[in-house]
């Protein structure tokens, strides 16, 4: 029974004959019983499957997509169900006034959330790259629903804070779902732009000629065409051999010449600008980097994210979900920016990236400028180059996931047709149908729908969400975890004592990435001795050979440039007198600890 029917109000009871009244009462009771049983199964009837919440407080179907209103509702439910683990806030408003939601997931009972090492996750910066929002929602849902049962998650949320922003382009997202589009449109946001420089804005975009909320492909019978039908699957068009005659020509995406300038679909709402070229590291103007807007963060959505990140210097790791291709990407996007990624940091990136390849079969760990194309002013460039945060962008969905073997998204690859035919029962394809076109005459329109090719089909969505979530958890797990290993005392005579503390970091990421150290993006870590009179302080470079560097100013609070990943630093104070003392470590990205 469809949910919509269940939630309809039952008809009000009216005063009729007794028989009629009884009938109404019985109908009403049957209705209520069915409703209750369908909404929440009896917990006794359920048995936990490994690794999944068995009876979640927040019921969500993970085999479909949600527009912005839908996302808002799910986030509100999670916050309401888990007040000690989830807090929702709006970090800004989009161009059209939609809230950009951030849900903070952490154990709020353990420590100050904004001082814990932070993992930032967002999705859907490109309007059509929608599943990043579902994957982000899944992460927030899974962490909160599994917290009670899973020790690892209890420790994870005690140590770390997750800032999850399911969509950073809500206007574009809703436009993609609710307006006619292809799988690849719109990529941009919705601020209007005069792309063909003729003084008119958005005067010739795609046209949904057949009114089915899809922008499909137009073909026309033409004995001089270069295409014919694939005899194995007549929905598919194949290129004829070099010396063969064809039956069809392909006319491009659904549309017509709206402004009489001899061009079709050259200035529409779907090609405004690229929000992933609006970030403040290596930014280039639109004639060098197609799609750049005015200057970094000139779009309200990217500015909102930037302001949030600047207010949360504890963010040490980040993921920004895109589609498609099955990739785990790191920068640089700018080919001239390779100096920014030095060997030490590449080692950290490689370790985590390769783990991702293990966890998500079919996904490959790649470098943007080298394995994809040059891209200037991208989000992951600013997160790393501008703030020193270890960042990946996962391009979600790969045709490998059709049959767990290599396949491409190429139009000539027939695995899409085979998958659609046998596993989706042809749900993803609109069959070719005739249309009378004002410029082209008798044509046919058909093709794959916008929810196929880049977006996951429903039954594969939850599985890939879980795998990518696991990768981001591994990534977040490896933000620094600091520990004061030892504090040793030595009497120097003359009322002076020497106190030596060793502070270690048991995770892969250092408290300052190399980019951070190079430009002093964040301030140094501070290791302090309090409760006693401190006469001198130093960083011990080599404890065995007794090599140290004195800090003449403010010796009680020793500034340490960095605490390396899977490494340690040693500091030493000379104190006068005796008494109880405390060692404190304050690190922007490593957290605060006391002993």
């Amino acid at each position: 029974m469809k949910r919509e029917v269940l939630l309809q109000e039952p008809k009000p009871l009216m005063l009729h004959s007794n028989q009629e009244t009884m009938k109404h009462i019985i109908n009403f009771l049957v209705f209520i019983t069915l409703t209750i049983s369908a909404l929440a199964q009896n917990a006794d009837q359920l048995f936990k499957a490994a690794g999944s919440p068995v009876n979640p407080k927040v019921a969500v179907s993970w085999n479909r997509y949600n527009d912005h209103a839908g996302i808002t509702e799910i986030l509100r439910k999670i916050e309401k169900a888990y007040p000690g683990l989830a807090k929702l806030q709006s970090i800004g408003k989009s161009y059209k006034g939609r809230d950009i939601w951030c849900i903070t997931i952490t154990d709020f009972a353990k420590g100050d959330p904004d001082k814990k090492p932070g993992m930032y996750i967002d999705g859907n910066i490109h309007s059509n790259e929608v599943q990043g929002a579902e994957f982000s929602l899944y992460t927030a849902w899974y962490l909160t629903e599994s917290f009670a049962d899973t020790k690892f998650i209890q420790q994870l949320l005690a140590d770390k804070v997750f800032y999850i922003v399911p969509t950073i382009n809500p206007d574009g997202r809703d436009s993609y779902f609710h307006e006619p589009n292809t799988a690849s449109s719109p990529r941009s946001g919705v601020i209007p732009i005069d792309n063909d420089r003729d003084g008119a804005v958005d005067e010739d975009g795609y046209d949904d000629l057949d009114g089915d909320n899809e922008i499909l492909i137009m073909r026309r019978k033409n004995p001089n065409g270069r295409y014919r039908l694939d005899p194995a699957d007549p929905r598919r068009m194949v290129v004829v051999g070099v010396d063969e005659k064809g039956d069809y020509e392909m006319l491009g995406l659904e549309g017509k010449d709206n402004d009489g300038d001899g061009m079709v679909n050259e200035d529409g709402y779907t090609f405004q600008y690229d929000p992933n070229r609006d970030w403040g590291w290596g930014w280039q103007p639109n004639y060098i980097q197609n799609g750049a807007y005015k200057y970094p963060f000139s779009l309200p959505e990217t500015r909102a994210v930037m302001e949030f990140v600047m207010k949360h210097p504890n963010i040490a790791a980040a993921q920004s979900y895109h589609n498609a291709g099955g990739m785990i990407l790191r920068g640089p996007g700018d080919p001239t920016d390779q100096v920014t990624y030095n060997a030490a940091d590449i080692r950290v990136y490689d370790a985590i990236g390769k783990k991702g390849e293990e966890l998500i079969p079919g996904y490959r760990y790649l470098v943007v400028h080298k394995d994809l194309y040059p891209a200037y002013g991208g989000e992951l460039d600013w997160f790393y180059g501008g703030r020193g945060v270890y960042t990946y962008s996962n391009e979600l969905w790969t045709p490998y996931q059709f049959f767990n073997k290599e396949a491409t998204r190429d139009a000539q690859d027939n695995s899409s047709f085979t998958f659609d035919r046998w596993l989706l029962f042809k749900d993803a394809f609109v069959d070719w149908h005739e249309f009378d076109h004002p410029q082209y005459g008798k044509i046919e329109i058909g093709g794959f729908k916008k929810n196929f090719g880049r977006a996951h089909p429903g039954f594969l969505l939850e599985s890939d969400a879980h795998r990518n979530m696991s990768f981001t958890i591994y990534h977040g797990y490896h933000t620094p975890k600091l520990n004061i290993d030892t504090i040793m005392e030595k009497d120097l005579g003359n009322g002076l004592k020497q106190v030596t503390a060793v502070v270690s970091n048991s995770r892969l990421m250092p408290t300052h990435s190399s980019q951070d150290l190079k430009f002093k993006i964040e301030r140094p870590d501070i290791i302090s001795l309090s409760g006693v009179k401190v006469v001198a302080g130093m960083v011990v470079d080599n404890a065995d050979l007794n090599i140290s560097t004195e800090q003449k100013n403010d010796p009680a609070n020793i500034q340490v440039a960095n605490i390396p990943g899977l490494g340690a630093v040693t500091v030493r104070w000379i104190m006068q007198g005796s008494g109880k003392y405390t060692v404190t470590v304050e690190s922007r990205k490593g957290g605060n600890i006391v002993r």
Binding site: D196, D198, D261, P285, Y287, Y295, S298
Partner: protein, 543 residues
């Protein structure tokens, strides 16, 4: 044309403000408000944005009718906070133009050109010139951690000799890099080790090492520099650049405003950059890369022509060499805004000739400071130098430390009595540049009647102006509009051949492109051609 220029000269000689000195922000505001009030049809004043320090960044639009639809020139002062003259030049330009507004020549100028004037983009920094403690300041009031040590504003200047000016300290040291200028021992110059010269002094700006980190005055009040905060070659993570490009309110407001105005064809900013005394030369290597670092060839030709005009109009020579540092407004104007971008200091200390009556000899070593001091002496300008005087300095125990040097602002800020003439020269240049602006025309209209109601229309779309319809670089940018040509039909007319709607790329000065259509039908059609930077021309054609 000659009459026009004669009128302008008359106007400029008489119609200027009677201000007695440079204007602080309050006085700048008063002058601008007075202009707007007495010229309500021609001048509109608005506050572009309020800085973090609470000061209005003023923007004055001068023009008539539909001001945003006419070819426009942007004039900017206060690009660098220590360039006080720039603001004076921008306001002086506005005052000159508006005082002549009754004349036919100004009326016809403003009928075809709009001026967007931004007198001061660094209103907080320029106030330091009027403060009780003077030091050259380019930064706004936002508190920044300039040395990135985790502390903010912990080590600024200190007025060790209590004279209300921050100058220099010289510390005698065997490893010092500086020595006195051979011809003027007041001036410190770097010793050339390759020539066997020996230095004797370490040089610092006046102050103490307040935070004991070994550096002097490295993190004082403020701030981000307007002229270091733009996107072209942004000098990331350096003092004054801001945490990211275009981070500051004043920079954002200006960029947002300018991108919305597609009618701007040229920008003139006053500051240390200078492509008017010597134009940018074409460098093929610089333009043949993805990220270009030089002007395209047709644009260098326009620069050369405008530079020639500047030098002839002002008569200036021997300009000091200047190269843009990253993040500057002048470079942004061309490389990222894709308009013709011009910059000049507006004035500089002329190259002095030794005065034999004062026993002066030619300099053996060229130095701007020494040249300035000689010029100031010849002009009898007082109080330009603080004599070196020994002080006790706690950071240099037992060492000889003296405080002294050229007074802040002295080199870049001419005595006020010279300002009216400087304003006149630079204003004249702007008005002459306006004369060169691109201008669309439709000429040589031919109609040929062919059989069966078919007419062939041929027309030349012409740029009558000297400057191209927009920069060559602008062809690549979607913020710069093409010259659009429309053939508008009515009723049962139809276009058989030719485009109803087409865009042309940059039309060079004094050039044209011929277009032709075949139209079937009777009556009139209209042809409309133009772009925001060229204006629009419409003609009726009878079939």
């Amino acid at each position: 044309m000659r009459n026009f220029l004669f009128f302008i000269l008359l106007v400029l000689s008489h119609g200027l403000t009677t201000a007695q000195g440079y204007s602080d922000h309050a006085k700048q505001t008063a002058r601008l408000q007075a202009l707007a009030k007495s010229n309500p049809q021609l001048a509109k004043l608005r506050s572009l944005v309020k800085t973090a320090g609470g000061k209005d960044v003023w923007q004055l639009t001068i023009g008539t009718g539909k001001v945003d639809e006419k070819p426009a020139i942007v004039v900017v002062g206060g690009v660098e906070g220590n360039h006080i003259l720039g603001t004076e030049l921008a306001i002086g330009f506005a005052e000159s133009v508006l005082s002549g507004s009754g004349t036919d020549s100004i009326k016809s100028l403003l009928a075809r050109t709009t001026f967007y004037v931004f007198p001061n983009m660094s209103p907080d920094a320029t106030e330091q010139y009027f403060a009780s403690l003077k030091y050259e300041r380019q930064s706004n009031t936002v508190a920044t951690d300039d040395d990135r040590d985790g502390k903010v504003n912990e080590d600024g200047f200190d007025d060790l000799d209590g004279n209300g000016k921050i100058t220099w300290m010289r510390v005698e040291s065997p490893i010092g890099e500086y020595r006195p200028h051979p011809d003027d021992p007041r001036v410190m110059v770097k010793a050339d080790l390759s020539k066997g010269e020996k230095g004797r002094y370490l040089i610092f700006s006046e102050g103490r090492d307040n935070d004991k980190d070994g550096q002097f005055n490295e993190d004082g009040e403020g701030g981000v520099n307007f002229n270091k905060n733009f996107t072209y070659k942004h000098p990331s993570f350096t003092p004054g650049s801001g945490e990211m490009p275009v981070s500051e309110l004043e920079n954002r407001a200006m960029v947002d405003y300018l991108f919305e105005r597609s009618s701007v064809f040229a920008i003139l900013s006053f500051g240390s950059n200078n492509n008017l005394s010597t134009p940018i030369s074409f460098n093929p290597l610089a333009v043949n890369q993805t990220i270009i670092t030089g002007w395209l060839e047709p644009d260098t030709k326009v620069n050369a022509m405008v530079s020639d005009l500047y030098n002839k109009t002002t008569g200036y020579k021997d300009a000091p060499k200047a190269g843009p540092a990253g993040g500057d407004f002048f470079s942004w104007g061309y490389y990222h805004y894709s308009r013709y971008s011009f910059s000049t200091p507006g004035w500089w200390v002329p190259k002095t000739k030794p005065d034999s009556t004062k026993n002066e000899k030619a300099f053996t070593l060229d130095d701007a400071g020494a040249n300035f001091l000689r010029w100031a002496g010849q002009q009898s300008i007082p109080d330009v130098f603080v004599d070196w005087k020994t002080i006790d300095h706690p950071d240099f125990p037992g060492q000889k430390v003296e405080v002294g040097g050229i007074v802040p602002y002295a080199i870049n800020t001419p005595p006020y009595k010279l300002v009216p003439d400087i304003v006149k020269k630079n204003t004249m240049f702007v008005l002459k540049m306006a004369d060169l602006q691109p201008q669309i025309d439709l000429a040589n209209i031919k109609t040929e009647k062919l059989t069966n109601g078919l007419t062939r229309i041929t027309v030349d779309v012409m740029n009558k102006g000297t400057i191209a319809s927009h920069s060559k670089l602008g062809e690549r940018s979607y913020w710069v509009k093409k010259v659009n040509v429309k053939l508008n039909t009515t009723g049962n007319q139809s276009v058989v051949s030719g485009k109803k709607n087409q865009g042309l790329n940059s039309l060079e000065g004094y050039s044209s492109q011929t277009l032709t259509w075949l139209v079937k039908g009777e009556g009139k059609v209209t042809i409309e051609a133009g772009s925001p930077t060229t204006g629009t021309k419409t003609i009726d054609v009878t079939l």
